[in-house]
């Protein structure tokens, strides 16, 4: 995030004064209140000079290509539903841009993977080996399965392999959607990554309970029989909070890693593109453009890398938990 914020500061410094004022005019306290009251903004809430925030945050509107001039975005306002109150928590289930993106990612996953599976099965039945698209899907799937999931999950990994594969493909498509025009990175939203991490956490704990039975409790309550009797309660008091914190750190790191990587990359790309307009010169603008293209390629790599890392770490955590604690 550091280079991103630095570049953003550069951008703000170079922007015209009138572009800066609306953002600056809102006092920090009001900002906090606004964010607390309504963290998912509508379409036209931003300062005209700030084009980075709407790109990386969620909104209740969707940009779609215009027709017939597809390069002119057309904004579709998504419906607002009444929020649901469960206890003290207000849940606003209105579809947002990121919900749509998640749905598109899921749909793409289905189309690509089910299509690949069909082609794979079809060609395997006809001539004994897959070809083309099915073969490519098989290669990626088998790579994740045989190199990422199976070696880390421990013995009898088959029950957890679909979860790892699903995580990989879903995160990958959600990441890639942010790189195409009119798209947005749903995995650049902490809610999405936190949910995925939370689900991973639940799967990890479930795996621990299933393979260790009552031994699972020892992953929370530290009780080491190798220690002298006097030391056991002491270490119990000292280590048990650490064990609990260790448990919670893993999903937290998963969530923040994916979120920060996605957001940072996009901020860098957008800031570089912003520099082109800030300089208002063809000569100087070329350099940030070239850099933006470079960062975009890096982003393409990062999209795959982060999906890979998320699934890898999920399988490592599950495997660690299953192999029995200590």
């Amino acid at each position: 995030m550091k280079p991103g914020s630095f570049l953003l500061a550069l951008l703000i410094a170079s922007a015209p004064l009138d572009a800066q004022t609306p953002g600056a005019a809102i006092p920090p306290a009001a900002t906090e209140q606004t964010a607390a009251a309504e963290h998912v903004a509508g379409c036209e809430e931003y300062a005209p000079g700030d084009f980075i925030t709407p790109h990386i945050t969620d909104a209740h509107c969707l940009e779609v290509p215009g027709f017939p001039r597809f390069w002119e975005p057309h904004e579709v306002v998504l419906p607002r539903w009444a929020p649901i109150h469960i206890g003290g928590v207000v849940i606003d289930m209105s579809p947002t841009k990121h919900v749509i993106m998640l749905l598109i990612a899921a749909l793409l996953c289905c189309v690509v993977l089910i299509g690949g599976a069909r082609s794979h099965v079809h060609h395997t039945r006809i001539k004994g080996s897959p070809k083309g698209f099915g073969s490519g899907i098989e290669a990626m799937m088998l790579y994740i399965r045989n190199e990422v999931a199976v070696p880390n999950l421990g013995p009898h990994p088959n029950a957890y392999v679909p979860f790892i594969l699903g995580l990989f493909w879903f995160v990958l498509f959600a990441n890639l959607l942010g790189l195409i025009p009119f798209g947005s990175t749903a995995t650049g939203n902490i809610s999405v990554t936190a949910t995925l991490a939370l689900l991973t956490f639940l799967v990890v704990e479930f795996a621990g309970i299933r393979s260790n039975g009552f031994g699972y409790l020892r992953t929370i309550f530290y009780w080491n029989n190798d220690l002298p009797v006097v030391m056991r309660p002491l270490m119990f008091l000292l280590m048990s909070p650490i064990e609990v914190v260790g448990k919670l750190t893993k999903p937290f790191a998963l969530a923040v890693r994916l979120f920060a990587n996605m957001v940072a990359g996009h901020i860098v790309v957008l800031a570089l593109i912003g520099l082109v307009f800030a300089f208002k010169s063809y000569l100087v603008g070329t350099a940030p453009l070239a850099m933006a293209v470079g960062i975009m390629m890096l982003e393409l790599f990062v999209a795959f890398l982060q999906a890979f890392i998320f699934s890898l770490l999920a399988s490592v955590f599950i495997g660690q938990m299953r192999e029995g604690h200590h």
Binding site: I12, L103, E138, W169, S191, V263
Partner: protein, 193 residues
């Protein structure tokens, strides 16, 4: 979780005012609706993919791996079979060659034995004939000696008759005859040798 995130955000906001000020949005504020959406979408996706994509591909891959394994196993088996058959043929060839050698050797041994037998038989026959001839000669000789002795006795009797005719009790004559007879016997034995 939310409070933790809040405090983190506040920390970040105080550390980087440049980011916080123009952006009224809080990037770390969770949206529970979106979280529920994510959960629902992901779980539904997981179920659909497991059923329609991962399952069939895994099954297909396993089937292909099985087929490949079977083919490799069959090829290995065939190779072992052919190697075994080759070894058998080679062994059979060796065996028949040995047999032929043995037969030739046996034939040679049998021939040798037959020849030896024949030679031995010839020798035996020869010896037999020789022995028989010798025996016959001996027999003839004995008979000839007996005949000669009878002849000599006859001659002696004849000579004695003649002497007696002339000189009936001449003791000196009788002694003469007797000495003559003994000389005849000795000479006859020496002649037969």
């Amino acid at each position: 979780m939310r409070n933790l995130l809040r405090s983190l955000v506040l920390l970040a906001a105080s550390a980087t005012p440049a980011l916080a000020e123009p952006a009224p949005k809080n990037l770390l504020d969770p949206n529970y609706g979106l979280m529920v959406w994510t959960l629902v979408i992901f779980v539904a996706l997981l179920i659909v993919l497991t059923k329609f994509a991962f399952g069939p591909i895994t099954k297909s891959v396993e089937a292909r791996e099985q087929a490949l394994e079977d083919a490799i196993g069959a090829a290995k088996r065939d190779r072992e079979d052919s190697a075994r058959v080759l070894a058998e043929h080679r062994a059979a060839l060796d065996a028949s060659r040995d047999e032929a050698q043995k037969i030739i050797a046996e034939a040679r041994v049998a021939g040798d034995r037959v020849r030896a037998d024949l030679v031995e038989q010839a020798h035996a026959e020869q010896a037999n004939m020789l022995a028989r001839a010798r025996q016959e000669i001996e027999t003839e000789k004995t008979r000839a000696i007996a005949e000669l002795r009878r002849e000599a006795v006859d001659l002696a009797i004849l000579g004695a008759g003649k002497v007696i005719e002339k000189n009936l009790d001449d003791a000196g004559n009788r002694q003469l005859v007797e000495s003559f007879l003994s000389s005849v016997t000795a000479s006859a034995v020496s002649a037969s040798r």
